[in-house]
């Protein structure tokens, strides 16, 4: 999960954009219900990294510009049991490249618990 933070006061920042996409995936993570209309992110965005690779490139399409964020991570899998199947964990999250001015990794383990992994300061 990515959180947008105001550099001035450290509070959650509301971001307006067209969409967020990931290289290699057909899905668009955030977009307005109407084409060519802006969507509003209230402080955070829940994105899915590629579980079959060790890096994912996200593109944030804002009203006037486009910014990218490339993250790296390690995959780990554990077989739990015949009934429960296996569990996959991504860890060692790092920011490989970005066009954002200030980015910080606050949690290196990716999970579905909706805790912030990366903070982006505007």
């Amino acid at each position: 999960m990515i959180s947008f933070i105001k550099l001035s006061d450290g509070e959650a920042d509301t971001v307006v954009l067209y969409n967020v996409t990931a290289a290699g995936a057909d899905s668009i993570f955030y977009k307005s219900s109407e084409p060519d209309e802006l969507d509003t992110l209230n402080g955070s965005a829940l994105l899915a990294v590629n579980p079959y690779a060790e890096e994912t490139l996200f593109t944030f399409l804002f009203e006037t510009e486009e910014k990218t964020l490339k993250v790296g991570y390690k995959n780990e899998i554990r077989f739990i049991s015949q009934d429960c199947g296996s569990e996959r964990v991504q860890y060692n999250l790092t920011v490989l490249e970005t066009q954002f001015d200030s980015v910080r990794v606050v949690n290196e383990v990716l999970s579905i618990s909706r805790s912030t992994n990366i903070e982006i300061y505007n």
Binding site: A22, G24, A25, S27, A48, N50, P51, Y52, K74, N75, E76, I77, R78, F79, S81, Q82, G85, S86, R88
Partner: protein, 221 residues
């Protein structure tokens, strides 16, 4: 005169004690082995026939050194868990070596009630094939493999060995296993270690029921 009597009274019992000590001959401990016991674990053989996810066998041997027994176990273990989207397979070998202390050393049949300890070590390979259904990234089937992984652990043991007929013995061993250490690379966490069990258990119990034959090497003095 009184002092002479006192000396006689003091020395006389000492002389009696000395004579008594001379008559009690201390029996020397005999550390030379009298026989080798070899056998197999019946539970592993039954599980192989009844549990579709398990296949394995184990051989056991021990040799006596007075009340101490050098014990060695060698085994093979294979696990297979197949579900619709996933398939886990593990195969490997293991051994344990340690010492048991017999608390029935006066038993003429050399039956045993023992406590002991073991060092266990296993080497194995495992693979996991997973078909993932991801709404964003699509479906994919990946096989993860760990090859020639080494594992080690410790055990505290207790059990019985009873002579049934001539050279034929039966017994059991209960094991408290602990301190598992594996050296697989990160990426695929080991699920099962031959001779130990599931890696998620930092300590676990094991049980063997053994049929054994004792081969006498020499008669006990």
């Amino acid at each position: 005169m009184k002092s002479i009597i006192n000396i006689v009274f003091f020395i006389f019992p000492l002389a009696l004690c000395a004579q008594k000590a001379d008559t009690v001959k201390k029996k020397e401990r005999d550390f030379f082995p009298t026989g080798i016991r070899v056998g197999t674990d019946v539970i592993s053989l039954i599980r192989t026939q009844t549990d579709v996810s398990f296949s394995g066998y184990e051989f056991n041997a021990d040799v006596d050194f007075y009340r101490y027994y050098l014990a060695v176990d060698i085994g093979k273990w294979e696990r297979q868990f197949s579900t619709d989207p996933e398939d886990y397979h593990n195969t490997g070998n293991y051994f344990r070596v340690g010492v048991d202390v017999n608390f029935l050393k006066k038993d003429t049949d050399k039956s045993m009630f023992f406590f002991g300890m073991r060092y266990g070590r296993g080497t194995y390979s495992e693979n996991l094939t997973v078909t993932t259904t991801d709404p964003v990234w699509g479906n994919n089937t990946i096989t993860y493999t760990n090859t020639d992984v080494a594992a080690s652990w410790g055990e505290l043991t207790t059990g019985l060995r009873v002579k049934m007929w001539k050279f034929f013995w039966m017994g059991y061993t209960a094991r408290y296993k602990f301190g598992l250490n594996t050296n697989e690379p990160r990426g695929f966490v080991s699920h099962d270690v031959p001779g130990y069990g599931k890696t998620e258990n930092q300590s676990t119990w094991g049980f063997n029921y053994q049929l054994m034959f004792r081969i006498p090497v020499r008669k006990k003095k």
